[in-house]
Subunit: 232 residues, 2 copies
DNA sequence: ACACATTGTGTATGACTGTTCACTGAAAAG
DNA sequence: CTTTTCAGTGAACAGTCATACACAATGTGT
């Protein structure tokens, strides 16, 4: 029963498990599509998803116990997407002149390419089902940690203590997610608006990175000669 | 019909419009309560809201055309809450030593005091109904602008150009909203966790403020002697 | 005192929901 | 070839939904 390759039918026709995986993917895609039309995940009905996937409502149960379980499967897909993004970022040169700007550009393209998945992240990260929210936040936290690790490995901001680096990365991720919402809401074919958005995005990241280094410097100065005021 | 005070019944009993306002408030509160139990707004049913408010489903129509309209009324309430927060912040001394820390503390208390409204903001700012999302973003933008104006009036970061100040404020607001989610998810009676969260919050704001000033300095230096690298 | 306006109720209706069950047909296994 | 497995079907169920309508109760204006 559980044999990798069929015994008597190595034909070109699709195998049963392949068909199953296909309708499963159709169900996931159907949910994403419906959310892309401005629906929240918790408001999606099982029958509705099945209908969009072109399948009888009862077929849903062959793949997921309920809609929440489908949601978790979606989160898993999202996790893969985020890991791919990191891998893509890792392929970039270490420190060319406009690395930040190029990173932003890569990210924007990535969001537009995986539009529906980012719609899903943005919508459900702070809303609706509790288990979904927690699962997404878990993925995002993981992403943040991996980013910090990449910074370390590449010697970026090597003078920052780990806790500061973690914080910087979490702020970067926060900014990225906020930017994703903007990218998704952007009307298509508006290069001017898009350029302005990119510019803002780059600025925000610069502020964070500059602030982090300077804050660290001030901390060092503070421990050297205490009593200095640290705000204003 | 539209007279401020009843002509013949100035008694202690509640007037008709008072009753109406009360059930209206009950409906709004009911929606917030249901969302506080982890539901997304778009998944709330009219009948459900009416039931929670202790009123017949059909009574709903005396106050709102549909649930979306109730959502917009909630957004209006939220707008008032945000304006109250700004007013409260304005009452603080101009520049005591630990102004930032105190602002954070005030904000945390405010979020906890208006918990359900912040749950609503956090959930619906990026999810579900399009018109609701836009309405909330509008309120948040307004809040950001008012904050920038307050900074100007108090002479804070007076050296920053307006565009930078706007950006700093939008980053502050972004951080505040992210912090709100953390505050809301915080299990009660965990002073250690809460203190750590506050500390992180303060750090993040410092990074933004430091980064903004330094970025501005670097911009000035850049225009003075161009050719300086601006990243690393 | 009387007529009107308005808030809230109860019932009804047709559509949609999640879930069950017995089933079909074809791939997989023997 | 025969048998088994199993993804997908279609009918049926009880429940909830939004909405419409006639109606009741009561504050309000004349």
């Amino acid at each position: 029963m559980v044999s990798g390759i069929s015994t008597r039918k190595r034909s070109n026709a699709v195998s049963r498990s392949e068909r199953k995986d296909l309708t499963r993917a159709n169900l996931l895609q159907a949910a994403l599509t419906l959310m892309g039309e401005g629906r929240s995940f918790t408001s999606l009905a099982l029958r509705e998803i099945a209908r969009e996937a072109g399948v009888a409502p009862t077929a849903f149960y062959r793949h997921f116990r309920n809609t929440d379980e489908l949601g978790l499967a979606l989160v898993e897909e999202v996790g893969i997407t985020l890991r791919r993004l990191l891998r893509e970022a890792r392929k970039m040169d270490v420190a060319p002149r406009d690395m930040l700007r190029r990173s932003v550009s890569v990210y924007q393209d990535y969001v537009k390419l995986n539009r529906l998945q980012f719609v899903f992240i943005s919508s459900e990260r702070s809303g609706g089902s509790r288990i979904l929210r927690l699962a997404i936040r878990n993925d995002v936290t993981h992403f943040t940690h991996e980013m910090a690790q990449d910074f370390r490995l590449r010697g970026l901001y090597a003078n920052l203590p780990t806790s500061s680096l973690q914080m910087v990365c979490s702020m970067i991720v926060m900014t990225m997610l906020a930017a994703a919402t903007d990218i998704l809401d952007l009307p298509p074919h508006q290069p001017l608006l898009e350029a302005e958005m990119s510019e803002n995005f780059v600025r925000q990241l610069k502020i964070i990175l500059f602030g982090a280094t300077r804050w660290d410097e001030d901390l060092a100065a503070l421990s050297a000669k205490p009593g200095r005021k640290d705000e204003g």
